[in-house]
């Protein structure tokens, strides 16, 4: 069965409907960034194989049930003046009953075999130097990504090289979350006090959206992250950038910003208070999003600093509304230049 082919037919059908309705396609067609039905990684492909295989079996069963169902409804509805010879119809039939016990068993065995095989496949831990290990820590409501071998950490944005197995070691510090990149593969729960493992890869470069899939509090819906899958060369460049010492602080404005940062932000954003751990901001200038959900620009950064809770309900980030416009300017410039 061609996975792609089936998906294309569905897409064409949906598009046809859209054209008829004259609608905006981005509001009904799934995006490449997070579509389970068009996976960009091995794990996602395996899941999808099984999804389609099980749908195929189920459609056969459904067709049989519906055929009998419709036949019965049409044939045996009560008609005036027609009396059926009831003695013909028994209230049990051993042969039939055996058939509809054994056939489903056969179908389930057919489904169970690939299920078990894939379950073990997906649990396999990749070995060798070629494997990138990333430690994922889920926090209320942000994601921390540590690259232990490369020796740095970042937040909200996960970079992975195309074509390489990435082995995630997933844990948490507060409540349950679940780490999910729909376009790359299945999810894994984040459980404080426990390290879960998950292996994904990306076969195609692109920007994929990650989600938290376990209810984790007020801003569960906003606990997004981005996965940047890039060619090895680009990935290496990113690694080099992230491992390099931070850009020097040059202008007076940036210096003022640094002072503000060191007098207030640093408390949470440099791991001084373990109960209020914020994302590492050493390389904030390289980010593509703010708080995982907003577009990366100065306006959004200021809005976030002024009133984070209005953007992400329940976040631990404090308001910085006590800064005047000039100070805020300085802080944002400092942050955006930390490359």
């Amino acid at each position: 069965m061609s996975r792609k082919g089936l998906w294309r037919i569905l897409a064409v059908l949906a598009l046809a409907m859209l054209v008829l309705a004259g609608c905006d396609s981005s509001k009904i067609l799934p995006s490449d960034a997070l579509n389970v039905l068009d996976p960009k990684g091995t794990a996602g492909e395996k899941s999808l194989d099984l999804i389609y295989f099980s749908i195929a079996i189920m459609l056969v069963v459904f067709a049989i049930v519906m055929a009998i169902f419709i036949y019965v409804l049409v044939k045996f509805r009560k008609r005036e003046g027609v009396t059926l010879d009831r003695s013909k119809y028994k209230d049990h039939n051993t042969v039939l009953e055996i058939i509809w016990t054994v056939l489903p068993i056969a179908a389930l065995v057919a489904l169970a075999i690939p299920t078990v095989k894939y379950t073990f496949d997906l649990a396999e831990v990749p070995k060798g130097d070629d494997v990138l290990v990333v430690e994922v820590v889920g926090h209320q409501y942000w994601w921390e990504f540590k690259y232990p071998k490369q020796g740095f950490k970042t937040a909200q944005e996960l970079h992975i090289p195309v074509g390489k197995k990435v082995h995630f070691k997933i844990t948490g510090t507060d409540v349950l979350h679940a780490f999910w990149v729909p376009a790359l593969g299945g999810k894994m729960d984040v459980i404080p006090g426990r390290v879960n493992e998950l292996t994904l890869d990306a076969k195609k470069a692109g920007l994929y959206h990650g989600k938290c899939a376990e209810l984790c509090g007020a801003s569960h819906a906003l606990m997004d992250f981005k996965v940047v899958a890039e060619e090895q060369a680009d990935f290496d460049k990113w690694i080099a950038k992230m491992s390099a010492p931070p850009a020097p602080v040059v202008t007076a404005k940036e210096k003022q910003g640094e002072e503000i940062f060191n007098s207030s932000c640093i408390k949470c954003h440099a791991g001084m208070d373990p109960k209020r751990e914020g994302p590492d901001l050493t390389k904030f200038g390289n980010r593509q999003s703010i708080a995982g959900i907003l577009k990366y620009d100065e306006k959004n950064l200021k809005a976030w600093l002024k009133d984070p809770k209005s953007i992400k309900p329940g976040t631990k980030m404090e308001k910085f509304d006590f800064l005047n416009d000039q100070e805020l300017d300085a802080l944002t410039q400092y942050l955006m230049n930390r490359k």
Binding site: S31, Y89, E97, P104, D174, I191, E197, H209, G217, P313
Partner: protein
Amino acid sequence: MGTLLIMIVFGLFFAAIFTGGYNNTLIQRARKTTAWDWLTSVDHKKIGVMYFMAGIFYFVVGGLEALFMRYQLLVPGNDAFVGRTFNELLTMHGTTMIFFAAMPLIFGLINVVMPLQIGARDVAFPFLNSLGFWLFFFGALLTNMGWIFGGAPDAGWTSYVQLALNEYSPGPGVDYYVLGLQIAGAGTTMSGINFLVTILNMRTKGMSLLRMPMFTWTSLITSVLIIFAMPPLTIALLLLMMDRLFGANFFDHVMGGSAVLWEHLFWIFGHPEVYIVVLPAFGIMSDIFSTFSKKKLFGYNSMVFATSLIGFLGFMVWVHHMFTVGLGPVSNSIFAIATMLIAIPTGIKVFNWLFTMWGGELTFPVAMKWAIGFIPTFVIGGMTGIMLAAPPADFQYQDSYFVVAHFHYVLIGGTVFALLAGAYYWWPKMFGKMLSERLGNWHFWLFFIGFHLTFFPQHFLGLFGMPRRVFTYEPNVGLEYINQVSTFGAILMGIGTIIFAWNMIQSFRSKKIAAADPWDGRSLEWATETPVPFYNFAQLPEVRGVDAFWLEKQAGNKQMTPAEPLGKIHMPSGSHIPFLMSIALFVGGWGLIARSWQIGVMGLLAFGVTMFMRSFDRDHGFYVKPKELLDKEAKS
């Protein structure tokens, strides 16, 4: 101040009990009111009606919560119900629908119908029956008090830790969940024991186990499930209460606790719970298919076997809710296969229903329409269930809208359709009137179409990457229109429900008494008069086979053959103690929620006092002469 007030009330309460210093004339007058009659009733039909009406009420409440959520999800970035408020809505929607709508509606039907179907005059423990209802009632009330006082529970109906712990859900919200469900759950366990003993011990002459109507059979299996599935919930709630109220460390990972432990305990209860609410639905459908096909249920014995097997397997599959917890491929595979096995007995049931209709003489009143609508709907829900059972695929479905679609297909397409079918079918026995078929048709079609519009698209929401329990979603990734269709469908379901409410009101206002056997029924409940006298049968009937009443009608008899001579009937007396007991626990529970230990302890003490009241209550019921006996005496 509040504490003081409640202490005074309690003081009066105790003083009144110990001194017998009630105001007797007032009490006497109160005893004559209808409210007192219902409050103290131990008549299974009245308790059933109260369960049913409470269930309908909470069905509407849960439905409103759902509509609020669908409204919030109409467009991305909507700000009507965000953050904590949305979490309260989703938590209370799930909790309400499962515990306070589905369960009481089922208990209502079991209470009204099951004793009639086995030819009994009451349940085995009428007092416990009343207590079970009032515990449910006050438990549900307590859980919903959060909306008014201090915030509703907001950690999901599964209430996963650590989110449900004090640190992450401060305030009383989750406490309402813990104590409200604990009280309601105690009532549920009692009812389970009560139904089981009733079915095993109280059957009339000739009603062997393998002659019982399928609804009674499924009630029996459900009761067994309740007895074995509720205790894990009791313990889970107890441990969570200890953690939240008394500083224990069952779930705090820093102190060695385990979040996975909660998931196990919850789902060891939670999965059988699904069968608790769906097996009686199968029973209702079986009875309805048989009645409106004018045929005996096809494969009766295999149906009994399948029901029992589903009940048994229901305890072996809970880990399929936890495939992404990281328990490893061995455990995942075992539970995957166990889950798939359930499809076999379920399939047997579906084919048996189809072949019940095969060769029948089908008519389609509203009750039958629900049953017909149930088949494709439930089959879809069952099939997505099997798809979810495969862990590699489940890794993608888990906690996405696909799962939401799946369990609504099962719980609405299975349970709710069946309950509504049962409502139309047994309404004349419950209330002595009929529901309008015309309004019923509107209700059915709006609800049925609305249901599929709401939930079928949600499969795709999940596959397009939308997690469940989110208050908003990304724009321009293909989610907008599908969400809008879903919301539109929900509105149709809402309109359908309003029509149903109107139908009920019309029926209550109507003066026309229903016929005793309006559907040309097959089982014993249709052999009673309408309205059913409180002693059910003047003479208990003798049963000669499956479809007892139908057999008699086929043999040309208008009535069942009596199994006993006409005589005085012993009936249990009503009691106000169940109501007092439940109030005591309600107050005690609320005291604990408010962290007022005095009130909590006093509530428990008051409960202890009521237990003594019950133990020393030597009322052994009374004898009544049925109408038939009075007529005969008058003649002679």
